[in-house]
């Protein structure tokens, strides 16, 4: 099976991917809700900004993160002063990079599922005495849950594959920021690293495939849940 080094790489990748989506979830859901339901000036701009990591070269995203989180940077300075921590060259930084890159996909999936919630159910709930918050909690959120889950899975898969922003932002430190794609890249540079490239690539494909199948199943379940009402 897997060697100790391979396990370390896989475990780190999974940890980075999971922390990334858990961190991004509340932000992504709030943005998705705003874009699906609210009308406000500058909505188009927010929509564009959210999608930016999808189209900008990842290296650029990584470089922007580097500037922001450097000790002299806007966020880095604050993190250092308030908590005495830095995310540079740390796995937490890799998780931030993965989260930023996953954000557009997560917002898209969640926004679609919120938009698909039939407003007539929400109106019915209000005539039954439910205020806005209770309607959100008991109707909107549960009915959009399959889309939220699909967004999480997609974001997780995207985070697992993150390369450009990560290597630019937190470099390629074995055991700390060296996730699957970075490890594959390193192995490619080494003479005789072919076997490792093969093994890590197969693991990557398997993980991504599992995530996509899970996402597809969730979306199908969502389709059934809303049907036959």
């Amino acid at each position: 099976m897997l060697t100790a080094t391979e396990w370390q790489i896989v475990a780190l990748s999974l940890r980075v991917g999971l922390v990334a989506i858990v961190m991004t979830l509340p932000i992504a859901f709030a943005l998705a809700w705003l874009l699906a339901r609210a009308a406000f000036p500058g909505k188009l701009l927010v929509d564009a900004l959210v999608h930016l990591p999808l189209v900008v070269p990842p290296v650029v995203t990584g470089w922007v993160l580097l500037i922001l989180f450097a000790p002299s940077g806007l966020i880095g300075h604050w993190l250092d002063r308030a908590f005495g921590v830095t995310v540079l060259f740390r796995w937490t930084g890799a998780a931030i990079a993965a989260g930023v890159m996953a954000l557009p996909l997560m917002v898209r999936a969640m926004r679609l599922s919120i938009e698909a919630v039939d407003r007539r159910f929400e109106n019915a709930a209000r005539t039954l005495g439910a205020g806005r918050w209770r309607v959100f909690r008991t109707i909107t959120l549960p009915l959009s849950l399959p889309g939220v889950a699909a967004g999480l899975v997609l974001g997780f898969a995207r985070g697992l594959g993150e390369f450009g922003a990560t290597i630019t932002f937190v470099s390629n430190v074995p055991g700390e920021t060296q996730t699957l794609p970075l490890a594959i890249y390193s192995a490619l540079q080494q003479p005789g690293g072919d076997a490792l490239v093969w093994r890590l690539s197969v693991i990557s494909v398997a993980l991504s495939l599992a995530a996509l199948v899970a996402s597809e199943l969730l979306v199908r379940r969502a389709g059934r849940g809303h049907g036959g009402v």
């Binding site: 209000r126 109707i139 036959g228």
Partner: protein, 202 residues
């Protein structure tokens, strides 16, 4: 006593709704062809659609008054609204649909025994027939401790036998619950049978 005192003006696209009604106790039927804005009138009474001008008073209480700046949100109007399509929450079983609006979340089955839905409590809405879903919807509206009932074409898309069941149920509510009822229909027979009074809407 005046149950419904309504004066509503609303412009929706090209159509303009001007509606005034003063009606006493029992069941008032709004009778007219589809597309005359009857559903919009019910939505304005329930608080789901904001009138441009006018007022909504039910049993002496003002729910909306454009001049006085009063506009109670739907959750405080306590309308028992039976929509044209059942709108049962698809992710909740019948039991939880019934208790959604019930004070304290308690389902007082005795209050809705006449609907004959006691055996459906553990079912999911998507497994109900049209007639069953309709009866559950009526039960859900009644359990929400409403101050008045709004019924929007409660018999639409039901076969003959089911219509009779629902008609009997509505008569039962009219004669026992002492709630003011405002019902919308385009069927003269239904209007005759339920209406304490019938108001034609053009």
């Amino acid at each position: 006593m005046v149950a419904f005192d309504l004066r509503l003006t609303k412009r929706i696209g090209e159509t303009r709704i001007d509606f005034a009604l003063t009606a006493g106790e029992g069941a008032t039927v709004l009778f007219g062809p589809s597309g005359a804005g009857k559903t919009s009138v019910l939505n304005m009474i329930a608080g789901l659609l904001r009138p441009d001008a006018g007022h909504v008073r039910v049993s002496g209480e003002t729910l909306f008054d454009a001049d006085a700046g009063i506009d109670l949100p739907p959750e405080r109007r306590r309308a028992g609204y039976v929509f044209q399509e059942p709108r049962l929450f698809p992710h909740l079983r019948v039991r939880d649909n019934l208790r959604y609006g019930a004070p304290g979340g308690r389902v007082e089955m005795a209050a809705i025994d006449f609907l004959g839905i006691g055996h459906l409590l553990d079912r999911w809405p998507r497994t109900l027939s049209g007639g069953e879903a309709r009866r559950v919807t009526i039960g859900r509206a009644l359990l929400g401790a409403p101050r008045f009932l709004l019924l929007d074409e409660p018999l639409s898309s039901l076969d003959r036998a089911r219509r009779e069941e629902i008609l009997t149920a509505i008569e039962h509510i009219r004669d026992t619950a002492r709630l003011p009822i405002l019902m919308v229909t385009h069927d003269a027979g239904e209007a005759e049978r339920i209406g304490t009074r019938i108001v034609s809407v053009e």
